[in-house]
């Protein structure tokens, strides 16, 4: 027990060190306070929300958000390893120290899981619930609700976390089995929804627990969280990279093939980075398809209230926002120091990343097309695609302007995140509302390309002049 605690404590300190050295401990410590403030003040707006959205739907959305948060945190923790690994050096992270410490990989992985859970609980989940709870005396909501919510929201978060750990463990073992598992889950949901008439959300244990709090339900909820955790730890195999592996030269031929791109060697390098790190498939599954599939389930649970095309377009908006984060996939491999000894400007590198980003937008285009076919929304496909791509590029331009080539680090800075949320949130809400009224209004989203181009231009000048931050 003592080494376990010791290692755990050191990992926590390390997580703090990594985050706080990236943008100063004060800025980082403000993070939970911001979450707290949002929840606290949001509670006073509840009556307003209630007149627009039934309380049931609000509960679904909140639980869904926490589920997503758990999922994203899990995906970041696992896929982010590669990044951390490089930025801070293999030996500097305890998660990799089994080669020097007499501890098993599995033991360290178990600690890693617990650390992620506790760390993000303290930073995200607890401040939210605390904000809501402290507002109850003023909002005349029974204090029993924050109590129950603290259990059910936490378990939603953990459910997402354990789910993604579980799926990624399968992913590492066999991609085919992962495919089968995902299809199986999909079939169960579709079957339950379409044929058995069971509401999707009533399959989600934390929500069941919220509506009828009982020991049995509590145990079921805990079980669906703990069992995947245990299985992933039991099945865990460390990914040893073979450091002597040889690769043939792909860069030269690929640069030649991409001659029509504005920056062929840079685009070739982006493609090779994603191919060799194995991150296109992994990122697409864990940072794109799974979160969106979940969003779809939660959105479609609201069907009674929203028009069918409304849900589809709403979903399109969110797909656009998530698609914009593909810029972080492209910038995770190197910092600008890899280029700084070459006659290359920051502007050129950002432009080449935007170029590769444009290619990656084929993924959301294919995805939205697929969804429109399967949900009988083909008549709205054109406005949907315009909406999705406009929003994705607009959100990208905000990220480029705010973070340059370091979105993976700077988006964790409270000030940056705050400005990002405001500037992306506002047009997203407006466009979402407009497309409810009439789906063709969604076509108006092309106007977003004006601020998009302007912000990208501003970003070029901003980051070309600034000294590149070193992390």
């Amino acid at each position: 027990m003592v080494p376990m605690l010791d290692l755990f404590w050191n990992m926590m300190k390390e997580e703090w060190r990594v985050h706080s050295t990236m943008f100063g401990s004060i800025s980082f410590a403000l993070f939970p306070i911001m979450i707290f403030a949002i929840a606290f003040m949001g509670s006073f707006l509840l009556p307003v929300f209630k007149s627009v959205l039934p309380i049931q739907d609000m509960l679904i959305i909140t639980h869904g958000n926490f589920l997503l948060l758990g999922l994203m945190v899990g995906a970041f923790g696992l896929l982010g390893n590669e990044v951390m690994n490089r930025r801070f050096g293999q030996a500097s992270l305890l998660a990799y120290s089994s080669r020097s410490l007499p501890l098993s990989e599995r033991f360290i992985f178990a600690n890693f899981v617990v650390k992620d859970t506790v760390y993000y609980f303290v930073f995200w989940v607890f401040p939210f619930i605390a904000g809501f709870a402290l507002a109850t005396p003023f909002t005349h909501i029974s204090p029993i609700y924050p109590l129950i919510l603290s259990v059910t929201l936490t378990s939603s978060f953990l459910f997402g976390l354990s789910g993604v750990f579980f799926l990624s463990t399968i992913y590492v073992r066999s991609k085919r089995v992962l495919g089968i598992v995902l299809v199986l889950i999909l079939v169960i949901f579709v079957f339950a929804y379409k044929f058995a008439g069971i509401s999707v959300t009533s399959l989600f244990p934390p929500l069941i627990l919220f509506y009828s709090f009982s020991w049995t339900n509590l145990i079921i909820t805990c079980a669906v969280i703990i069992i995947p955790f245990i299985i992933s730890i039991a099945l865990f195999i460390p990914e040893f990279t073979d450091t002597t592996k040889r690769y043939r030269n792909m860069l030269t031929s690929m640069t030649r093939k991409l001659w029509f791109f504005p920056y062929p060697p840079f685009s070739a390098k982006d493609l090779i980075d994603m191919h060799r790190s194995g991150s296109v498939v992994g990122q697409t599954i864990f940072s794109f398809i799974i979160p969106l599939a979940l969003i779809w389930f939660f959105l479609s649970a609201l069907t009674g209230f929203l028009p069918a095309y409304g849900i589809f377009l709403q979903f399109t908006v969110l797909t656009g926002v998530i698609a914009s984060t593909m810029y972080t996939w492209l910038t995770q491999f190197d910092s600008f120091t890899s280029y700084s000894c070459l006659p290359v400007s920051v502007k050129t590198v950002i432009a080449s990343k935007i170029n590769s980003f444009t290619v990656l937008q084929l993924i959301p285009i294919a995805f939205i097309s697929f969804v429109s076919f399967t949900t009988h929304n083909v008549p709205y496909l054109l406005p949907a695609l315009v909406l999705c791509i406009s929003i994705s590029f607009y959100a990208l331009s905000v990220i480029v302007y705010m973070t340059g080539l370091s979105p993976n680090v700077l988006l964790y800075d409270v000030k940056v995140l705050f400005v990002y949320l405001i500037s992306v949130g506002f047009p997203v809400l407006v466009l979402g509302a407009l497309s409810f009224i009439n789906p063709n209004y969604a076509l108006g989203s092309v106007l977003l390309f004006l601020p998009t181009l302007y912000l990208i231009k501003l970003g070029f000048t901003k980051w070309d002049v600034l000294d590149q931050p070193i992390f």
Partner: protein, 241 residues
């Protein structure tokens, strides 16, 4: 063009640290010039300003006759740079990295040139390994090749020998010596004084961002002085002043 590097009253401030404090320096063509100073004295900051990687807060800097602040890309096209932290792109192989550099710098016949460097620095067996899996020493070799592959008129090297074993140090020192004999100019930073004493012609001593002294190694030797004694006396006087 006789003067390859010229700075006037160069200043770089980080928060309350003045990393480079009013440095005026000039380096002639054909020199193997050493920028010396203990850790944290501002050597890396100097090199980054000379190559347009960071902007000075004051003063002027011109390299190969180009105003660095106006045209940093133009400067980097003409010079070779080996940064302090060797960071070739993680997921490219050594061969691919040199091809990437060649594409950016528009260098012809890269395959032959790369092959020559793999043999010269003795890392042919690592040429198809990903950069992230290379040892620090091998990465440093790759960065060395990258900096000289286009035969620049001036190369700026931050701590050139720090990751090399004694045999490789010898190879590299000889290469640098030959390079200036053939008309090139080399600017190195180092905190290892023996290296400077052995290979440099001119040198400058930096301490806490301030330029304490500039001179030539041969003058020092004709006065029967050792660079390290000279350096220590300067730094101690500087500290008391």
């Amino acid at each position: 063009m006789a003067v390859m590097i010229e700075t006037k009253n160069l200043i770089k401030v980080y928060g309350d640290i003045t990393a480079v404090d009013n440095v005026t320096l000039s380096v002639e063509r054909g020199a193997l010039y050493g920028l010396l100073g203990p850790n944290g004295s501002g050597k890396t900051t100097m090199i980054k300003m000379l190559t347009g990687q960071i902007r000075p807060n004051g003063g002027s800097v011109s390299v190969v006759g180009i105003d660095v602040m106006r045209d940093p890309i133009g400067v980097r096209e003409r010079v070779g740079i080996i940064p302090e932290q060797e960071t070739p792109p993680s997921f490219l192989t050594a061969t691919e990295y040199l091809n990437f550099v060649a594409a950016v710098r528009k260098i012809p016949d890269i395959d032959e040139k790369a092959a020559w460097w793999f043999d010269f620095l003795d890392f042919r067996d690592k040429k198809d390994v990903l950069c992230k899996d290379l040892s620090r020493g091998t990465r440093q070799k790759l960065m060395f090749a990258q900096a000289f592959i286009h035969k620049p008129v001036l190369a700026l090297i931050d701590e050139p020998l720090i990751n090399f074993d004694p045999i490789m140090q010898r190879v590299v020192k000889d290469y640098l010596g030959e390079y200036v004999k053939k008309g090139g100019t080399i600017f190195i930073s180092t905190h290892i004084l023996e290296v400077a004493e052995e290979i440099c012609s001119g040198f400058a001593i930096l301490h806490k961002g301030k330029l304490l002294h500039t001179g030539s190694v041969s003058d020092l030797k004709s006065n029967n002085q050792h660079l390290d004694d000279f350096f220590l006396s300067l730094v101690q006087n500087g500290a008391h002043a």
